[in-house]
């Protein structure tokens, strides 16, 4: 922190730039989250590449580095690029990916051509500094530039707040929104305009080639942490802030490196960490969830098998042998051992000469056996309905009418196969 303060004292401009890129990160993160949800992640990429010729043309006309004019030029050619992509999809049989790839590279090629021409212009070429728009450079940013970024980012956030409900519905279920009579096309258009704005504002600091990462990464990373849109946007904004802030600081530290790649690698680190550790959908959380489910499932199998064996053995049978369990299920002895130890730790079974259920275990076993036998009965009585019920669901009562369940239960009772509490020791 002291180092940071020192840095700020030495360079007031850095603080201003930090404010600018941080706000840019927040705005781009939130807008990008919507774009990712709407599966338009690569639109930003196409847009930013297509923005380069507009930037150059604006410079060629004005012959000076006026940020607002350059960005307006960039916006215009970026939007033209997007329009061409959409027109190609509408009227030709060029597929989406080829259309994006073609427009993106051809516009970018044109941009490079113009860039070299500008560099060769006598007088203005050397001080145009347009090269910094390829990979971004925050060092050269003036205070006035930062105010432009601030104003535009604030406007974008205000628009999102204003149309929050519309964005929410369209990004999760566009068809439903359409059916409700919402102007999905208009909302999409607004979203794309916001993406375009974010891309263009991001150009000076992140650069043409990598600015799309600023849009995609925070939203995609935030998705690992939450299932709720509001939280998602907050987290994405936070991640975008972290990308902009950290990236700018690092690039101030390593002044000879372009800013864009540093910001992107910061984002990569955030995304990688979220992919692994995100507690809603991260890889580790999902693995843990999978293991927990597997353990539960095997424990239920154990209790059910024990109940079946005890039930079949009559009143005198008070416990089962491990060999009997192994004969019923595909467990290895080692697996069964682990399973029994865990069940014993949960106070469901007692392991003595033979394996017996505790009262608690017996209660659970009866419950599981009831469910299982109801399912079996249902599927033998109504095999034709097997396709229409959710077989993965736990309770039959959740899937079929209650009088059917009652009927099946009474049939099981009549056959003497209805598990009774206390019937097993």
């Amino acid at each position: 922190m002291d180092g940071l303060l020192q840095l700020a004292r030495e360079n007031y401009n850095l603080l201003v730039v930090l404010a600018g890129t941080s706000l840019l990160g927040i705005g781009a993160g939130i807008i990008g989250a919507f774009a990712v949800l709407r599966k338009r992640a690569l639109t930003g990429d196409a847009l930013s590449h297509a923005a380069l010729p507009g930037l150059c043309i604006a410079f060629l006309i004005l012959r000076e580095r006026n940020l607002v004019a350059l960005l307006l030029g960039a916006l215009a050619s970026g939007v033209i690029g997007i329009a061409i992509i959409s027109a190609l999809g509408r009227w030709t049989r060029v597929r989406g990916d080829a259309a994006i790839g073609t427009v993106l590279t051809v516009f970018f090629g044109l941009g490079v051509v113009l860039l070299k021409i500008i560099q060769n212009l006598p007088g203005v070429g050397s001080r145009a500094g347009l090269n910094s728009y390829i990979f971004g450079k925050t060092a050269g940013m003036t205070q006035a530039d930062v105010y432009v970024i601030l104003a535009a980012a604030a406007a974008c956030l205000a628009l999102i707040a204003l149309f929050y409900k519309e964005f929410q519905l369209v990004s999760f279920d566009a068809e439903f929104a359409q059916a409700l009579g919402w102007p999905v096309y208009g909302v999409d258009l607004l979203l794309m305009s916001l993406v375009a704005a974010a891309v263009v504002i991001g150009l000076p600091s992140v650069g043409v080639i990598l600015v799309s990462a600023l849009l995609i990464m925070p939203g995609a990373a935030a998705r690992f942490w939450t299932d709720r849109l509001g939280t998602l946007l907050l987290v994405a904004g936070g991640f975008g802030f972290a990308m902009g802030f950290t990236g700018t600081l690092l690039s101030a530290r390593f002044a000879n490196l372009p800013t864009g790649p540093i910001i992107v690698l910061t984002g990569t680190a955030i995304f990688g960490a979220s992919l692994l550790f995100g507690w809603r959908r991260g890889a580790i959380a999902r693995l843990a969830e999978h293991l927990r489910f597997q353990r539960q499932w095997h424990q239920r199998q154990l209790l059910q098998t024990m109940y079946d064996l005890l039930d079949a053995g009559g009143a005198r049978k008070t416990g089962v042998r491990a060999s009997e369990l192994l004969a019923r299920r595909g467990w290895t002895p080692a697996q069964l051992d682990r399973l029994l130890n865990r069940a014993a730790a949960d106070n469901l079974v007692v392991q003595g000469e033979s394996i017996a259920l505790t009262p608690e275990g017996a209660q659970q076993a009866v419950e599981i056996a009831r469910r299982q036998r109801l399912w079996e009965k249902f599927l033998t009585e109504y095999p034709d309905q097997a396709g229409s019920v959710n077989l993965a669901g736990g309770l039959l009562a959740d899937s079929v009418p209650s009088d059917t369940v009652a009927e099946l239960t009474s049939q099981l009772v009549a056959e003497g196969r209805w598990p009774r509490e206390g019937a097993t020791p």
């Binding site: 009227w91 060029v94 051509v113 060769n120």
Partner: protein, 481 residues
């Protein structure tokens, strides 16, 4: 009843002329571009002052290198476009950058095999990572691709900036520097060979060999991956081999076009070729031709404007793509519009003779005259130019003539044409009436549309199906052919 009964055997298009069209068009395209390119080059290399020796060497070596580069890229690009993986190609071509940088840092040479190994590894890694992030994190595929390639590219840019720029110029890696590279001669077995050729010739040979050996596998995997998997082809092996080749060719090309714009010569020629032809072999041939002409004119334009060769190549490729979008014989917007107009003209003209024929049949000539004042058919459908052209077509074919009251009258030829049309109309009405449970008043509109598309063969099939039925559902006679 079966549809086979009325469609009969599948009629193939007249094969002879179509088989010749493609090679002739391709040859004409190459000849025109070659002549134009030669003329432009001749102009470009003309010495500024008399007495100077004209330098053909530099442009020709540079152009040769650019053609080799674009050709190998275009061949592989066809498969990327067909497999809808253009953006994976884009991602790979960006993401090999750290591989190039690491290979260079390790070996200190741009021609070292380590650069290829590094890039190959990174290209594979991109493909695996994009797949992995998408399935491990349940991220949408485009988002995961975007994340992976921007990350790797950012890493590459930083690595390249860390190398002292005297050794590896970032601008050269990103936008290519083919002119200077071509001047760098290496001696191989006594021959002086320009450096890019040392990489590009083997790359092109490898590409051609790869496609030739795996022709069948690549084809089936590109057009129907599910079928390929069901037939026991290893779809993933073919996929990774293709991605490996894309990485190798990208690296071999980066000095010529730069790693940012490789994708332009990878995808744009292939996307253009896909608009021109529907056969894989011809698509590859066209893509190579378009890639080559983009190289030639890209170089010429860049020399003329003294700007980036790679950028100009991408722009020339883009212009050719634009031309194909509008003017491609089958798919072009203009060609399709013209075909639609021609069809509209034919239909409008046929409607006129059909109407005149029915008027003759019922003999209500007087009514038509009274209604319009002239014997002009009341409505020629469509816009004014369609009506005008239809009118012109009627007279040009000699189907109608003007009678004394300045109205229209069928000639003998016109009556024949009209009879065929009315026969088609009534046959179709009868067919619909016999085989579909449609109300009588729904038959006419359907037949009004279909009558223009029933060729004589199909009409005979319909007549046979209807077993000599003589009148249509409205009681009108079906004319003999």
């Amino acid at each position: 009843m079966s549809t086979a009964a009325i469609t009969g055997p599948v009629r193939s298009a007249p094969a002879g002329s179509a088989a010749l069209t493609q090679p002739l068009a391709l040859a004409a395209y190459l000849v025109v571009c070659g002549l134009a390119g030669w003329a432009a080059l001749e102009h470009l290399t003309r010495p500024a002052t008399a007495g100077q020796v004209r330098d053909w060497g530099t442009p020709l070596v540079t152009i040769a290198a650019a053609i080799l580069c674009n050709a190998s890229c275009a061949i592989l690009g066809c498969y990327l476009v067909l497999r809808r993986m253009s953006l994976l190609g884009d991602a790979i071509s960006h993401a090999v950058l750290p591989g190039i940088a690491l290979g260079f840092l390790y070996s200190g040479s741009l021609t070292s095999p380590w650069i290829f190994i590094g890039a190959l590894a990174l290209g594979m890694l991109t493909s695996v990572l994009a797949q992995g992030v998408s399935s491990l994190g349940r991220v949408a595929e485009d988002a995961s691709l975007g994340i992976v390639f921007t990350s790797l590219f950012a890493l590459g840019v930083i690595l390249i900036n860390l190398v002292p720029s005297a050794d590896l110029d970032p601008d050269c890696v990103l936008y290519g520097d083919i002119v200077n590279a071509s001047l760098d001669l290496h001696s191989v077995g006594g021959w002086s060979i320009s450096r890019p050729l040392l990489m590009l010739v083997p790359a092109l040979l490898a590409t051609v060999l790869f496609v030739a050996v795996l022709w069948k596998e690549l084809k089936i995997v590109s057009f129907d991956p599910a079928l390929a998997a069901a037939m026991g082809f290893n779809v993933w092996l073919v996929h990774y081999l293709l991605m490996g080749m894309v990485s190798v060719v990208t690296v071999a090309s980066f000095e010529s076009v730069g790693s940012v714009l490789v994708v332009a010569v990878l995808i744009v020629p292939a996307a253009t070729a896909a608009l021109i032809t529907e056969r894989l072999g011809w698509m590859i041939a066209w893509a190579v031709a378009i890639g080559a002409t983009s190289a030639v004119f890209g170089y010429i334009a860049a020399m003329w404007l003294s700007t980036s060769v790679a950028g100009a190549t991408a722009v020339v490729a883009g212009l050719q793509f634009t031309a194909a979008v509008f003017a491609s014989p089958k798919q072009g917007l203009v060609s399709r519009w013209l075909r639609n107009q021609a069809l509209a003209v034919r239909i409008a003209a046929e409607d006129v003779v059909g109407r005149l024929y029915r008027q003759e049949e019922t003999g209500d000539r007087g009514q038509a005259t009274a209604a319009s004042g002239r014997r002009e058919p009341p409505d020629i459908s469509g816009r004014w130019w369609i009506a005008w052209l239809a009118n012109w077509r009627l007279f040009q074919r000699g189907w109608v003539e003007r009678d004394r009251a300045d109205g229209l009258r069928l000639t003998a030829a016109g009556r024949d044409a009209a009879r065929r049309l009315v026969r088609a109309h009534r046959l179709w009405e009868s067919y619909l009436d016999t085989h579909f449970d449609l109300p009588r008043d729904h038959l006419h509109d359907a037949a009004e549309r279909t009558e223009h598309y029933l060729d004589p063969q199909l009409q005979d099939d319909l007549a046979a199906e209807l077993a000599g039925r003589a009148v249509d559902p409205h009681g009108k006679e079906i004319p003999a052919p």
